[in-house]
Symmetry: C2
Subunit: 356 residues, 2 copies
């Protein structure tokens, strides 16, 4: 069953699982496509990637991923348009960010062609797995982790780069309520917050559980030093609309440079929406909520696209956002998803076609 | 080959690897004993642990350990005395700390008997693997990681707790030179620095590589906000001797509460050495280095025990420590290892015998 596609070896599964999948009822990220891309780093270099059947990974108990959290990942989506053409959104930005993350985690950087050709080949092989329904897409998870062995706390000598995909529905259902965190933090100055490093996520689970127990769905992280400035959410950057101005914090070494965030900024600016990228204090947001100038808050990220926020908690007080008719969130979400799914033209050159 | 020891099921290996091991020439943590303890969390509870042959672990590519760094670990040592009796050092403190770490990482806490009886049984089964030579010991690595599946950034529903062991020699050979970090950081206020979470270690690799390129072996972390206060090293807490006073920083949510550290404090106090647990600024250490009152610096941790520091770099200047005849480091190291290896009495009740 071996083939070579785009110079990449492809070993196809003998039994597809696709007939078991209910594409009209997809959850997020828990149904996996038939194949995955695998690429090993050993003897000082990345070896040629292969497409193989989706299958378990076998590791020594001393593999460093289990002990030292040496891993990075990306999140992307593939969309199918009405003509069955397949599209990615700014994939080179994900590739570059993966390498930025890898560098900070002392993981060897990947060659661009292994990532891009590997991804294209995988999508060609599993193109049947890309959902067509509105609101659904093929969630793509490239990740790199330390597979080399040993209990010495130092970088591994072997790594695995894998791309796995999951046909997925929405990440959140409906609006979310968020808690502006005043005790726990996501990242340190000089730390790894700007990297999509595995450990950044595990550290958020417990504070998020505490927030969920209080009736919120997400935590809004603030700076670890003063807790006065709004940083980002678990897997989304944060936008606030005060009067008609859209405000988002600047990126830094504590904050992920989100691709959705920067696309939203560009889209909004191109439509004449006033956008400010500047430090945003909790104080300002609370004051705006109190005087009625706070019109909207929303998260922006690949998984959730744009996720409107219904209200927030801060120091034991709850603040509700107004129910507006025409929101920036809804408008910008439509703009960006229309571009992503090839329903409109693409003035910024963000779309990337995966030709078969 | 199945047996029940201490209520724990034991499946012995059919072919021991012990004859391949050169016990007089052990490195740190890269030779693994014949067996391991495995315990699975599923259906909402920890299942009974088992001792099984050391063997690869098979995981779905979506297992959360690969993506979200949800893992914690411990580091302990077992020693064999002249009469072949087997000793641990304060093992309950490791157990408690593992659960403290787990809680912060949203990992279900382990029952004490699974940890302690599992550990004892494993050491009984692999007692031949515990080195007898001075300076060698059986390094013990308990760890817990998210084995449950899915790309949703939320805690896993399944975990594995494993104890693996490795007969080991010294962690460092000789004195180390350290760099007092002024740019990168290890942990945030309100973060996971006090937990032995995998992600804390991966984040240190790159800054440590940069330090190594400059001729240092280790980084001394400072607080992420001002970089003015000395926190700890990669896997060691830090002590400084100014004149005759031993000083170490207080623990906090950014710093691991080291078992070696607290033992050293108690030992030193019991011998009348003046000990101060207080914030220690880089400024004070540099001033003491300049005026000659800085006598010693050393790291303290299970793997390295006590690791004397020969000198440090700070803002492009290098500072050498004096070569003293009688050091606190050497004296305290002998005191603690004599207690650990049952060469002397144990006034604090730290030793714990593993009876066979
Ligand atoms: C911490 C964090 N912030 C923000 C984002 C949004 O980034 P992007 O828009 O590139 O998906 C993500 C998810 O990718 C994230 O994990
Ligand atoms: C970050 C860190 N600090 C300090 C220590 C020392 O702790 P202990 O003495 O309990 O081994 C360790 C190693 O265990 C560590 O990983």
């Amino acid at each position: 069953m071996n083939a070579i596609i785009n110079d990449i070896e492809v070993i196809k599964t003998k039994s597809s699982k696709i007939s078991e999948v209910d594409f009209s009822n997809l959850k997020f990220g828990n149904t996996f496509s038939d194949h995955m891309l695998v690429c090993d780093y050993k003897n000082g270099k990345w070896q040629a990637p292969k497409v193989v059947p989706y299958q378990p990974i076998s590791l020594d108990p001393s593999a460093k991923i289990f002990h030292y959290g040496q891993s990075v990942f990306e999140g992307m989506k593939a969309y199918k348009d009405a003509n069955e053409n397949v599209w990615l959104f700014r994939p080179l930005d994900n590739f570059k960010r993966l390498n930025i993350s890898s560098k900070r985690l002392a993981i060897p950087e990947l060659p661009e062609n292994y990532f891009m050709d590997g991804l294209k080949t995988l999508l060609q092989v599993d193109s049947n797995w890309i959902p067509k329904d509105e609101g659904s897409s093929l969630y793509i998870r490239p990740f790199v982790f330390a597979s080399g062995n040993g209990f010495h706390a130092s970088p591994a000598d072997e790594y695995k780069f894998i791309i796995a995909t999951a046909p997925s529905g929405a990440y959140f259902s409906g609006k979310v309520r968020v808690l502006i965190e005043q005790k726990y933090s996501r990242s340190a100055n000089g730390g790894v917050g700007f990297a999509k490093a595995g450990g950044n996520y595990a550290g958020q689970f417990y504070p998020t559980q505490l927030a969920v127990e209080k009736g919120y769905q997400q935590v809004i992280w603030t700076d670890d030093n003063t807790h006065e400035y709004i940083e980002e959410a678990g897997a989304m950057n944060i936008f606030v609309r005060i009067n008609d101005t859209l405000i988002t914090g600047p990126t830094s070494d504590r904050i992920l440079d989100g691709i959705t965030r920067k696309s939203i900024i560009q889209l909004a600016e191109s439509e004449g929406i006033p956008v400010e990228v500047r430090k945003l204090s909790v104080h300002e947001v609370v004051a705006a909520a109190k005087d009625g100038s706070l019109k909207e808050m929303f998260g922006a990220g690949t998984a959730a696209v744009i996720s409107p926020i219904a209200g927030f908690g801060y120091k034991d007080e709850d603040y509700d956002l107004p129910e507006l008719e025409d929101t920036y969130a809804a408008h910008l979400k439509k703009r960006i998803t229309d571009i992503q799914t090839n329903k409109t033209d693409d003035p910024f050159g963000w779309r990337y076609e995966v030709k078969s």
